[in-house]
């Protein structure tokens, strides 16, 4: 893991930060909604604060439907936000980003079979981007395309080939080369290996790690695989129903999780070294509620083993404690002092 160099050289403004970002999707008839005075919108992302440091690898984990991918699209500028602010290098960007701003954040998608244009050669994909964004002088475009392919570990001859001629792992390399062609500061990878075979996953994960070290990229890795996250990332943000419920440096989050959801998530990971599950109850029961009906108060309380009266009434803020710098959790009891009644509730749970 390369944690040390990221924090040291961090300048004042983060390359990418979000404050109070929300993305809502209208659902059903908005006229009826207004007449009946109800809320017919899906709160996919519901007030997210997040900051990615320069050269940092930040992981975003959570179950499907937690809003991870919608947040990624919003950060990338592909999805307009309903409220909140996204800043690039400390400068707020609006709904329509300038060409220069669009280059700063690039994305690698999950499925390399559908994210590449089947009618364009690999070289065609790269040339188009390099020309439109004037990344290099016109005469150098061909050479730059080849350089990019070498960078991601593909032969230079790949320029003339079509995506269908490549395997899944190679296509994902092409997708990474495409993202890197604009020389972004932040690379967002949305489940980059979950469509690939195990033995191929390793090559892509190693590639992402080495690119980050070589190019000083900031990386936002979206994944549901906590083992992958532990390998690649310095910091982890856990998302639940559109909001970040805990964020901490990787090892701290995994060794000392403070939010009950994070604890459940960690307990649910199948592990190689641990045998068959004991007869006990699952780490967490039930399904996550629909984002159309987010519970009032704490949104996790319907599945929380230690939920109290207070959780129904108050929505907990993402806060930290002095003894654990950089560790934030959105639970009333996350940093409750030892020996209080609630700390005991933990022990029992």
């Amino acid at each position: 893991m390369t944690t040390a160099d990221s924090a040291a050289s961090q300048p004042a403004a983060a390359p990418l930060s979000a404050r109070g970002v929300s993305v809502y999707f209208p659902v059903g008839s908005q006229v009826v909604a207004r007449v009946q005075g109800e809320e017919r919108r899906l709160r996919a992302v519901d007030g997210v604060d997040l900051e990615i440091g320069r050269g940092e690898a930040l992981a975003l984990v959570g179950e499907s439907g937690s809003g991870k991918s919608t947040l990624a699209l919003a950060l990338c500028g592909l999805q307009p936000v309903n409220s909140g602010e996204i800043k690039l290098n400390g400068k707020a960007v609006g709904a329509r980003r300038s060409q220069a701003d669009r280059r700063r954040v690039q994305m690698v998608f999950q499925d390399p079979y559908s994210s590449l244009n089947p009618r364009l050669t690999v070289g065609g994909v790269l040339r188009e981007l390099l020309r439109v964004h004037h990344v290099v002088p016109r005469g150098d475009v061909a050479a730059e395309s080849k350089r990019l392919l070498t960078l991601v570990g593909l032969p230079e001859e790949a320029v003339g080939a079509y995506p269908r001629q490549f395997s899944g792992g190679q296509r994902q390399r092409i997708a990474i080369a495409r993202a890197l062609s604009l020389r972004p500061e932040v690379l967002i990878a949305d489940e980059p290996v979950s469509a690939l075979d195990v033995s191929v996953q390793a090559t892509i994960l190693n590639l992402l790690a080495s690119l980050r070290a070589e190019l000083g990229l900031s990386l936002l890795l979206i994944s549901h695989n906590l083992a992958v996250v532990r390998h690649l990332c310095d910091r982890v943000a856990v998302m639940y129903l559109g909001r970040i419920v805990e964020v901490a440096p990787t090892e701290q989050l995994f060794s000392d999780p403070r939010h009950p959801y994070t604890r459940a998530l960690l307990a649910a990971i199948p592990r190689l070294a641990v045998g068959a599950p004991d007869a006990g109850a699952p780490a967490i029961s039930g399904d996550p509620p629909s984002p159309l009906r987010i519970p009032a108060g704490c949104r996790f309380r319907t599945r929380c083993p230690i939920a109290q009266q207070r959780c129904e009434e108050e929505d907990p803020e993402l806060t930290g404690a002095a003894e654990a710098p950089g560790h934030l959790a959105a639970c009333h009891f996350a940093f409750a002092p030892a020996g209080t009644g609630l700390a005991r509730a933990w022990e029992q749970a």
Binding site: M1, E63, S64, S167, D197, V198, S199, V200, Q201, A202, T203, L205, N206, A209, H224, N225, L226, A227, V228, R230, H231, A264, L265, A267, A268, I269, P270, R271, L272, A273, V274, G275, A276, P277, A279, A281, P282, A283, I284, S285, D287
Partner: protein, 354 residues
């Protein structure tokens, strides 16, 4: 590290690993499946043998194209039209399924053997109430009356943990979450009290917390009702959670089998070692992952000798020429590697590092 074990005289490929209880429910002997394609004949499954004892969960792991799903489909008798079992036996309670007619197979499939698929939404009937989908099996196969079958469906829904079964009985699959749909699939699989349930990546499409729930449910059912599982997956930690024994497939053949903790933590075949090394492990963070070089072999013209030799770091001259049948090792294990002692050294070196 233990010294390399004395390997017993080479046994034929049907070498049986693991000394489970004498009674076996399902026994697959030297199974071959060929698929006709325009490029040539694909040797999808090439001499696979395994057996399953009552109440046991056997894992079948490998990458895509290793033949694990084809093996499962052959056992259930639902191969795609261009695929055929060319030789071998599939014995369920001593009855060879390969020799059965469609009608006889249908009867066996309903009552003795069932399957859970990866994608519950596409395996369930979208326009039929889930309760009746669960009740269908007992009605058709066991001759239950409508009322009695409905009662059985309700009981099954309770058993697999579907809350409020009386109301959910009348719901359609689209009204269920992914985890609940998979519970419905499990209820359907259990509906006629089968002896074996074949599971094809049943938790791959689910979230990790839901996967945990489903795995625990399956483990509990195995324990309570003595049903056996054949569990196909590419996810090694999942195998560690649910199975007692595991067989690793590569290029249509078995390359290693044995008790789960032995095989996954102390492999005896370079491919198993490669799988373990390339998958990020939550409890053991490596400096960098070690991918398996190269690509899986073509099953139309598989490499001669050991099918893994072109990608193997330990390969010798004899690996290129001689066939590599599964050989029995002490401790109820088996490996197809001619030079498995070298894997031992690599495992020991890995362990010293961690």
């Amino acid at each position: 590290m233990t010294a390399p074990e004395e390997s017993q005289p080479a046994a034929p490929r049907q070498a049986r690993a693991g000394g489970g209880p004498a009674g076996t429910v399902l026994e697959v002997r030297d199974l071959h499946v060929r698929i006709a394609s325009r490029q040539g004949t694909v040797r999808a499954v090439d001499g696979v043998s395994f057996d399953v004892s009552p109440g046991e969960a056997l894992g079948l792991v490998g990458e895509s194209g290793s033949g694990k799903s084809m093996t499962l489909r052959a056992v259930l008798g639902v191969l795609p039209p261009e695929a055929r079992v060319t030789s071998g036996e599939i014995l369920l309670d001593g009855v060879n399924l390969v020799a059965q007619t469609q009608n006889e197979l249908n009867r066996i499939r309903g009552t003795k053997m069932s399957m859970i698929f990866q994608e519950p939404m596409s395996a369930l009937n979208p326009v039929m109430r889930v309760g009746w989908q669960i009740a269908e099996g007992p009605q058709v196969n066991l001759g239950f009356s409508r009322a009695k079958a409905a009662e059985r469906a309700l009981e099954l829904m309770r058993r697999v943990g579907i809350p409020d079964p009386e109301r959910r009985f009348r719901a359609y699959p689209h009204e269920f979450s992914g985890g609940m749909r998979q519970r419905v699939m499990i209820a359907i699989a259990l509906s006629c009290d089968p002896e074996v349930i074949l599971c094809d990546e049943p938790t791959t499409a689910l979230d990790v917390t839901i996967q945990d729930q489903i795995l625990r449910l399956l483990a509990r059912l195995c324990r309570e009702s003595g049903v056996s599982l054949v569990f196909v997956t590419h996810d090694l930690p999942v195998v560690a959670q649910i199975c007692q024994r595991v067989s690793v497939m590569y290029g249509g053949q078995l390359v290693e089998s044995g008790a789960v903790s032995d095989v996954l933590l102390d492999p005896r075949h370079p491919y198993t070692l490669g799988l373990v090394r390339s998958a990020p492990d939550f409890d053991y963070v490596r400096e960098s992952l070690i991918p398996i070089p190269g690509a899986p072999p073509s099953l139309i013209t598989p490499p001669p000798g050991c099918r893994f030799h072109p990608r193997c770091e330990f390969a010798e001259e004899d690996c290129r020429v001689s066939e590599t049948p599964l050989r029995l090792l002490p401790g109820g294990r088996a490996t197809a590697c001619l030079h498995y002692e070298r894997v031992l050294d690599a495992v020991a070196a890995d362990r010293a590092q961690s």
